[in-house]
């Protein structure tokens, strides 16, 4: 049972390049989330999804796009990478129709550096 798997684990990009981060979960969870974590800032929500085919903006959505074509996968795209997007990105998923009584399960993170 893999839980939440993120690929790649590390990546270095040049400014202006594009890339897609993949998150896959095998727990049949409805909710999926993308966070970024910067020193001293905690986890900030980028986008999230409450089910297959749905997405919504979080706190810091600018410069990112997402898609959830399949229930088990949640993709995060950077169309034109900027140095300010250097961060550690975490994907998470949770079961059920509300986050209130359901824990979030996190992947191991993707460390992204943009030069």
């Amino acid at each position: 049972n893999a839980g939440v798997t993120q690929t790649p684990k590390f990546r270095v990009l040049k400014t202006g390049q594009s890339m897609t981060l993949l998150c896959a979960q095998d727990m049949n969870h409805e909710y999926m989330y993308w966070y970024r974590q910067d020193p001293g800032m905690g986890l900030r929500l980028i986008h999230y999804s409450v089910g297959e085919g749905t997405t919504a903006k979080g706190e810091v959505p600018d410069g990112y796009n997402v898609s959830r074509l399949k229930k088990q996968n949640f993709l995060l795209g950077l169309e034109s990478a900027a140095p300010s997007q250097t961060s550690v990105y975490f994907c998470a998923s949770s079961w059920g129709v509300t986050v209130s009584n359901q824990p979030q399960h996190f992947g191991d993170g993707t460390r992204l550096s943009i030069l």
Partner: protein, 113 residues
């Protein structure tokens, strides 16, 4: 709208106790607590749903004061394995706030032998 955690850092010796606080300026529906070790993913500790609710997990417990819009995490008889960064995640009441968490900036806990 980010909840504020205090203290920012705490250093303990094994066996000592600690309290980490999480305060919000908005009315809360639930509070989640997570622990993250360096270079690893955050791990779920507990969720508090109702005002006044207290939960325990081994020697780690938490309370939720809905009226004061705050939660506290209590670590008693600390162990070396308790070291890490602790985050509270708050789900605020109302409208589009349900269904997502806003995390505090974290409290770094270091336990020495």
């Amino acid at each position: 709208q980010q909840p504020v955690q205090s203290p920012q850092a705490v250093i303990l010796r094994e066996g000592e106790d600690a309290v980490i606080n999480c305060s919000s300026s908005k009315a809360l529906y639930s509070v989640h607590w997570y622990r993250q070790k360096h270079g690893e993913a955050p791990i779920f500790l507990m969720i508090l749903l109702k005002g006044g609710e207290q939960k325990g997990h081994d020697k780690i417990s938490a309370s939720f004061n809905e009226k004061k819009q705050q939660s506290s995490l209590y670590l008693t008889a600390s162990q070396l394995s308790y070291s890490g960064t602790y985050f509270c995640g708050t789900e605020m009441r109302g409208g589009t706030s349900y269904g997502k968490l806003t995390f505090g900036q974290g409290t770094i806990l270091t336990v020495h032998p």
